[in-house]
């Protein structure tokens, strides 16, 4: 129960942060990615603020050691740079660049806009299921 409440509060903070920073607006995200056009660097500030707070938090978790491990992780889950990592990141980037949504903002946008975020989220879930079906052995 306690975990559920923590997760709910964390989700609210996350969704609020996405809305405040307008990351729920794909046009805003695409303007960041469009370096050759009328560039809007806002997304870098969002990432910067979030990374800063998290960088201060990691040492609290790991008794002073950075890059401590959380449940279900091994050292390799931080350092193991393999082909699926690079290929997967590249595929994710293509989808992100096509629409301007990554998973978090797409879920938040379900309550902000009409059908488009829903179509995107359903396709994303389908993609995840397809991946898990094809590469079940990995997990």
């Amino acid at each position: 129960m306690r975990g559920n409440i923590i997760a709910l509060v964390a989700g609210v903070l996350f969704g609020l942060g996405l809305a405040v920073s307008q990351m729920t607006n794909p046009a805003k995200v695409l303007s960041f990615l469009d370096v050759a056009g009328a560039w809007d660097p806002s997304l870098a500030f969002v990432m910067g603020g979030a990374v800063l707070v998290m960088a201060l938090s990691w040492p609290l978790q790991g008794r002073g050691r950075c890059a401590s491990l959380v449940a279900g992780e091994s050292r390799a889950s931080l350092t193991d740079v393999d082909r699926p990592l690079v290929f997967g990141a590249a595929l994710f980037g293509i989808g992100w660049g096509l629409v301007g949504y990554c998973p978090g903002p797409a879920v938040s946008a379900l309550v902000l806009a009409g059908l488009e975020p829903l179509v995107f989220v359903l396709a994303m879930v389908a993609g995840m299921l397809v991946h898990d079906r094809l590469f079940q052995a990995k997990k």
Partner: protein, 142 residues
């Protein structure tokens, strides 16, 4: 085209960071949205906290809409076909690569995870290339 909004961007980023910190210090979990969605759909019954987090994502945006006093702009230019293709690629890619903007970007970069230090430039670059091709290569975009 959108306007550069450094202060709301930074404020929103800090909120997202606080969310990640709460998950980390309160639950020992990574606030990685693609991972949370992926696990939630694979084992819907296990880990109600995941559904709570996802509900919170929507609730947080709803709270903002109710308190903002001005309409929240969401401009989606993608066609339905593009939404489907993009969604599929984001779903497959984030599962294969083990994270998205929140997991690799926010959580991974902040702990200098080597995997994230590789993944983030890769997805930033591939996204940037796609946007460049769609917007600036004649005959490709609308």
């Amino acid at each position: 085209m959108t306007e550069f909004t450094p202060l709301p961007a930074l404020a929103g980023g800090v909120l997202i960071g606080l969310s990640g910190a709460l998950m980390l210090l309160g639950m020992g979990r990574i606030a990685g949205v693609s991972g949370i969605i992926g696990s939630a759909i694979r084992e819907p019954g296990a880990g109600a906290w995941r559904w709570c987090f996802l509900a919170g994502l929507m609730l947080g945006a709803a709270v903002y809409v109710m308190s903002a006093g001005a309409p929240v702009v969401v401009t989606i230019d993608a066609s339905t076909a593009t939404l489907v293709v993009g969604g599929l690629l984001v779903g497959i890619g984030t599962r294969m690569g083990g994270g998205c903007t929140s997991g690799h970007g926010v959580c991974g970069l902040s702990r200098l995870s080597l995997r994230s230090l590789v993944a983030v430039p890769v997805f930033m670059l591939s996204a940037g290339v796609v946007v460049f091709v769609v917007r600036h290569v004649p005959g490709v975009g609308g």
